[in-house]
Symmetry: C2
Subunit: 87 residues, 2 copies
Amino acid sequence: MYVIIIYDAAPKRGAKLLKFLRQHLIWIQNSVFEGEVTESQFAEIKSGINTIINTEKDSVIYYNHGSNTYVERGVIGIERNAMDTFI
Amino acid sequence: MYVIIIYDAAPKRGAKLLKFLRQHLIWIQNSVFEGEVTESQFAEIKSGINTIINTEKDSVIYYNHGSNTYVERGVIGIERNAMDTFI
């Protein structure tokens, strides 16, 4: 499955999320990550996020696509991280 | 089509984007918007973004899905803006 994860967390936990998510997904912009993962990897990522964030204060949104072929992705302005695999 | 738009802009232009995108899409979190739009509305939104941002400094990413039925959306932690229409 192809997932997009966007977080909105306090700076200290945000830094931890950045470090954690970099190990599993591709950093896109600011607090946005994307990547192809298996179902069990995705479960592991969600569980990791849960242990890092304060679930009463922080917010992490995910979009789970069956595959990236359903999605058109574009950038207006500069591309913070060029993704050869996508465009 | 169903689009997700995430921006990363300097504060002044970010505030303008927030105001502009609120008129066309649903605010989700931080600098994240979603919504069902027609092809011409989406063209209008992209053109509006272009006039607001500094294309050499800011970055706006969009994901364009044929329809929201292809996507599973979830939140870990708090939901900044509850979307009854989606979940």
